[in-house]
Symmetry: none
Subunit: 404 residues, 2 copies
């Protein structure tokens, strides 16, 4: 057991982690060098800032831009460099599939094969999502299982779908059934690790590709399929076990509920994507939980779109919902992001993410606003995201002293 | 392969790392508490600072003062605690000897022995460098090889020289042929590691000490020799392999080219020691390289001399050369040092080193000057030197996202 887990105490205090996805940003030359957090009118956030310790979180390591999986695992207190989540598993979680321990998931594509079995289009002409759904339904009806392994298929956008193998003795260390470029045949999947589990998975995958190929033979252009990113749902010790916390994830998007499920959190779908919806859900979950993770996606979407005004608008909408969240009187409130998504970059970045922690013993910096520049010199310092949970537990009175 | 290497992408962007050796300093009581960087008139550096992320680098670990080898290995992205370079190897690199993989190098001294073979003066009365050169030439002429191993000898200052063993099957884990104090005989070198390679090296070293002793018998006072710091040239994965960078080191002093050679950089000797010479060399190397490391020694020399005005003068000379460097339009420019050499200490120190990183996405702090105090609260934060390369690669668009 690691240090933190060994120090965790039972307590009645409550922690709220409000994650504004992609929160961090850059000074914007077109906006007098302001960031969206600086430009937004956020009176409630300002009041919280003055009572908070400010600081910054480094999601994975200096210079390293995280995806959503590593970004959130870090915030939850799981080192994203040692708690690995495969591509297929993340895709399945993002598609809302509730993976069970031992499940192996893959990202899948329909593709076009020529008469000799050569891949001529890895995306099958980007077939419409409706066609994809029909083909997936056909495969699901015809190939329910192979050996003693069930197949779960879920259609995605365009040519994409997710395949999950559920059964005993499967392993995720299996190579892709995907040549990764046109002009080559689909390679057989093969075990990449020792032991029968990976061999079994490879065998099932290859049988599935064969049987699906036969079922798709008369289709055009989607007469074949590719599977990649095969990976096993990892099994991490959960929040109850590690931190003695009854945790709940309130997130409109399946991906974030999925990652939270890996930490053993209860999962709640709010009524909508807005901050007020998440806060309403928090009100309902309050009595039954000690740790409430609220995920809001709008900041990241605005950043990805390169839309400064939209990011400002989301922040102001979040601000408007804060009084109701404060009315719940969390003992510890943390507001931060899983990574930066700067408007000028239109994508995730490596920049440290602004963070605030508010509690009666947080060492309030007394700074009148919460933004990237204020956070550079705050009392929280610059932490690895994975260390945030320790600070939250400490502020909640939930960590024992180390040593006498 | 480590995380960073696995994320490195091919790109056309260019990175300049300008190292002002021993850059960091302390507030100087005799100069109204200013550091040399504060006191210097540096209009071009000031302009760069305003567009840069400021921060500080910790060369090895808090409180640890690095030598030139670890200081630069860190800046290059090689953890100096795990990428070890032996004393003999560093001495040989500093002497300008181009070591090949497998070479074993040693620091050597002429010494004085009495009739019973007892060391009476470990420095042979500090003979003049000319005498040392004559004796080294004599040894080199008479002892070209032992068994199948070639000997390369190069005279240094006073009683010092460097000995390199070149041949197959050598190992560097060999004890010193040096009692480390007077009044004792020269101990035989012995293998410190398992395997025939270290045994072979010890045998060659002992044979060399014997044969040299015979050749020096009639000399006075330098009638013996000592060898220490035996070490094998390490073989690290280079910049091309690790980071997909075509890298060049532009350095007037052999030591810094030598350490850069361990990272697989191309090596260029500028026409002189001044900043303008290094920049002129950078202009010539621009087209053929993606990463240009420019080393300037003057700041360190002034610090070692305890000469505040000289350090200021070097900084102002560097400042004058910056417009030509900027005219090359590097995508990422980093200016920092390998360690601090504070004027009041007249030597290397452990203090974090000021650093700036300038790129369109660096998170410019907008600070009007670049100095130790401004860097304490910059957006770059305080990083381990070994993590700098990740930030440079990220700013250059040369790092893939980690995880989905």
């Amino acid at each position: 057991m690691n240090l933190l887990d060994s120090l965790a105490l039972e307590h009645t205090s409550k922690i709220v982690l409000l994650v504004l996805d992609g929160l961090g940003d850059l000074p914007n030359a077109a906006r007098r060098g302001l960031t969206p957090l600086e430009a937004a009118r956020t009176p409630h956030l300002d009041a919280i800032a003055a009572e908070s310790a400010l600081g910054r979180l480094v999601p994975v390591a200096p210079g390293v831009t995280p995806g959503s999986g590593p970004g959130h695992l870090g915030l939850f207190g799981y080192d994203p460099l040692t708690h690995l989540v495969g591509r297929g598993v993340l895709e399945a979680l993002g598609a809302g599939i509730e993976l069970k321990p031992g499940d192996v998931a893959a990202r899948a594509n329909f593709c076009t094969l020529d008469g000799a079995g050569i891949v001529t289009d890895r995306r099958a002409g980007r077939i419409p999502s409706e066609t994809c759904a029909q083909l997936v339904a056909k495969l699901a009806a015809e190939v329910k299982s192979i050996e003693d392994v069930s197949l779960l298929l879920q259609a995605g956008k365009g040519h994409r779908f997710v395949a999950v193998l559920r059964g005993l003795g499967l392993g995720g260390a299996v190579s892709d059934a995907d040549p990764h470029r046109e002009g080559k045949p689909v390679p057989a999947a093969r075990a990449l690790g020792p032991g029968a589990a990976h061999e079994k998975t490879a065998r099932i995958v290859n049988a599935f590709v064969q049987r699906a190929g036969a079922l798709l033979r008369s289709e055009s252009p989607a007469n074949g399929l590719l599977l990649r990113g095969l990976s096993e749902r990892p099994s991490f010790p959960g929040y109850r076990e590690r931190f003695k916390l009854r945790a709940v994830a309130i997130a409109a998007y399946p991906m974030y509920r999925g990652v939270a499920s890996l930490a053993g959190m209860d999962l709640v779908v709010p009524a909508g994507e807005r901050a007020a919806d998440a806060v309403a859900a928090a009100e309902r979950e309050w009595a039954a939980h000690d740790y409430l993770f609220l995920h809001l996606k709008g900041t990241d979407m605005a950043g990805e779109d390169g839309d400064f005004d939209a990011k400002v608008a989301v922040l102001e909408e979040v601000d408007a919902a804060l009084p109701r969240l404060l009315a719940l009187a969390p003992d510890v409130l943390c507001i931060t992001g899983d990574h930066s998504t700067p408007v000028p970059m239109k994508g995730h970045s490596w920049h440290p993410v602004p963070a605030l922690v508010r509690s009666p013993v947080c060492f309030a910096d007394g700074h009148p606003r919460f933004h990237e520049k204020a956070c550079r010199a705050g009392s929280l310092g610059t932490l690895a995201s994975k260390d945030l949970i320790a600070v939250l537990l400490a502020n909640a009175g939930r960590l024992d002293k180390y040593g006498a």
